[in-house]
Symmetry: C2
Subunit: 535 residues, 2 copies
Amino acid sequence: MAARAERRSFWTWGYVSDEPSEAARKDAARNLAERLGHGIEPPTVPAIDAIALRPARLDVPAAFADWVSASAEERITHTHGGHSLELLKGLNGRFDSPPDAVAHPRTEDELEATLAWCDRDGHVAIPYGGGTSVVWGVTVPEDAASAVTIDLDNLNTVLEVDEVSRAARVQGGMLGPDLEAALKPLGLTLRHFPQSFPWSTVGGWVATRSGGHYATNHTHIDDFVESTRMLTPQGWVESRRLPGSGAGPSPDRLVLGSEGILGVVTECWLRLQKRPTFRATAGVLFDSWHRGTEAVRAIAQAKLMPANLRILDPGEAAFSAGLDGNHALLIIGFESSEIPQGDNARAAVAIARDSGGLIEDDEILIDDGTGRPTGRGGAVGAWRNAFIGVNAGLTAGLGLLSDTFETAVTWDKWPDFDAEVRARVGASLREAIGEDARLSCRFTHVYPDGPAPYYSFSGVVPRGAEEERWQAVKAAASAAVVAAGGTVTHHHAVGRMHRDGYDEQRPQLFAEMLRAAKRRVDPRGILNPGVLIDV
Amino acid sequence: MAARAERRSFWTWGYVSDEPSEAARKDAARNLAERLGHGIEPPTVPAIDAIALRPARLDVPAAFADWVSASAEERITHTHGGHSLELLKGLNGRFDSPPDAVAHPRTEDELEATLAWCDRDGHVAIPYGGGTSVVWGVTVPEDAASAVTIDLDNLNTVLEVDEVSRAARVQGGMLGPDLEAALKPLGLTLRHFPQSFPWSTVGGWVATRSGGHYATNHTHIDDFVESTRMLTPQGWVESRRLPGSGAGPSPDRLVLGSEGILGVVTECWLRLQKRPTFRATAGVLFDSWHRGTEAVRAIAQAKLMPANLRILDPGEAAFSAGLDGNHALLIIGFESSEIPQGDNARAAVAIARDSGGLIEDDEILIDDGTGRPTGRGGAVGAWRNAFIGVNAGLTAGLGLLSDTFETAVTWDKWPDFDAEVRARVGASLREAIGEDARLSCRFTHVYPDGPAPYYSFSGVVPRGAEEERWQAVKAAASAAVVAAGGTVTHHHAVGRMHRDGYDEQRPQLFAEMLRAAKRRVDPRGILNPGVLIDV
């Protein structure tokens, strides 16, 4: 019934094959035990058929038996999103609010039938792409009387490629790697690499306004969407393929970020490009975090538009890239399918040096189409590898609390913003975790008018106290970010987790307009109730 | 009461001082007479106080007397937008559907009072920036029982500049030149130059999703808006200043393109930049329109992102830039405040040559910060001057019909799109105007996935028949553009003129959602009824 090659793990990020081995988990526990000074054992992973589950509260129509299931396995693997505390719940065998059934429609007709069934019988309907939401975007609300998760995994094809315009019509359930694999023989690529890329889907990216690996210029999926096709309980909304338009408010921009409350995104046309062959990379050190971020501002405002322009604060540079803890690391990268990028890299480095950046000329790595590696050695390569491996499961259940929060803010508020967030979150961390708690920052995206800072925190808490301690820190982080003028989320989405901050930051009447629009297409309020707005 | 330094002309584009002289109009008539073979005299411009006007159908509250007027002059100068046939009506003294009063609120409080009055008494309210709409976006609907035009001309200040983030908080009624004059002492610029720039406003740009002079990358005002502030009959909608966000559908993107049906845009934060000092320009000839547009596609898809990338078909290149009629002219231009642009220009020219582009190396004009003129000589300069002078009034009333229509379409549909549009509009032109009618095309904006073609047509028709003949051609043009896969407007907006095409191209359920959102903030439907949607 499910279309993915593999089953999604119910306790770690990714598939069953991504789960760390028992031996690796024991090693990790031993390492942590040395740090803690007392022994610690990783919890036992429960067998999936030993997990106790609330009985399904609905009957699957017999005609839907080919694509809708109420099996325990389906319900278990669709209960939680990708947040580490959800995965910890999974590891602890806790599946308190599972969907009552999971649909895997193989056609748009089956999707229509599924949504009509939910609408008629009043089942909450939860659109589901790769299940990587870290904001409780795919979880069943506790007050739902019944819920059906609609997994798009069978709608996972590239339907059409327009090589002339460089665009493709892609189904919503397509995973990142599958999309790139389908485009590769044509020499084309979307090049949208959110950190969830291996496990997340095109429809999920659109619904959550995901941010890609490009640090500057177009990076949100918003900018790569040429048109969208979405099924609502009241019918289809399909926009016209257009490279640009000024005809009224953009229909696509209402779909983008709608997080499943308006409909199910089944298809979109995406803008592609040729694969890059020219690259240039530089890793620049700064002995001051503040001067480093000033360099980032100067490069962004010079509109060189590098593909990469990420700076790691000294703590993060030490932890993720092996630096000495006294230097921030700025990673500059350019890429192009057509134009050599050495001059751009040298221009960016010159600006960085004006702000105190340290780099030798011969450390600027340039690939003028020969395939010379530019990003896999040294500190840059170390960071790249740390970024790619998400492995949340390795230390799950050991009492290690680790999470991130991300935002964007205008430059005039930076660095006061940073100081205030660190002060408030730092205080909360000391209280919830202790003096050993770590808090660090990097920029994931940079705009001419402001950065998108990404904070990571971690520490050791008593086993069993993870959720309570996390709640306190998370609440402090969201409140601090919004109070200091940032957005409660730059690319992780709102879901159910960020509702408080979102309610505070977005215009009240906009929420009312969104609610009115939702009522028009979802009059019974079955689609993801509680996400973004109350129905 | 009105805040502009000058009164807007009621029969030509711009202010009274922009009106052509009697002598110039007679010269233009003589030139046309030679072409026609019979004498022709320009019509007499009516004195403003001799124009017959329907009595105002409402009473202005006494408390509003400082900023609301029902004077004939106010009503006459706010009856028509900027379309040439509206101006011709003005020249002919026809003001059939004037607003009943014109408000010039000097503060947000006065704006609130004005809108509350309209809402309470059921007057249609028409937000008005510079009055340059060419799509009947500021005209009073004929079935309105009473109407108040709300001119933002008193809300015309830069309230705040954030030099660090390079952004400014600007009031909606600010004109393009006033904005640039205010920013110039700071070395900053918005650099958003729609063709209406001298007479149009920031609020108008936002409401209509105007397109600027940048041919590639960010050019719609959408991309320069950091936040918006809009008054609706139900209160204010104000978004947070953010460089980027993934928190739900973008509130600003619902305001952008709302064309006055949701509220009055009083303020926005706009993203600025430093003034460019590095420039490079090249004019490249092609002996084939099709090969020229192929070159444009190749340059756009190489992501060089030139500021200018406009191609004129042979007819337009002859008419506007003095070429021989057998060559298309591609104008390539780069600009930067930081980085020399010679290499980029040479890279673009190399791509153009691959598609048959003709240019000598020494015809690439490069200004590496010395102020060397790059765009004011030769064919490029001739075209630039033709673009800047809009002067619609010179030949008004002589029977010369001249208009444009603009669109955007994906590359896979081009050049068939061009052939179909020319065939259908050409047939209509032959019927409505005759064999002498001209039809030409240029690209105003270019995206990696498609161009924004801009068609111009003109010809001589019997005096008095202009409107009827225009109707036929315009209907053919809109129908052809939408049928062939384009958008009914790329940057001129929908207004009342493009409703048929818009209704056809936009998703029906999106219109329903937009209507539901409008009802929430404008329950009595007073704001610009009939624009974009029926209430």
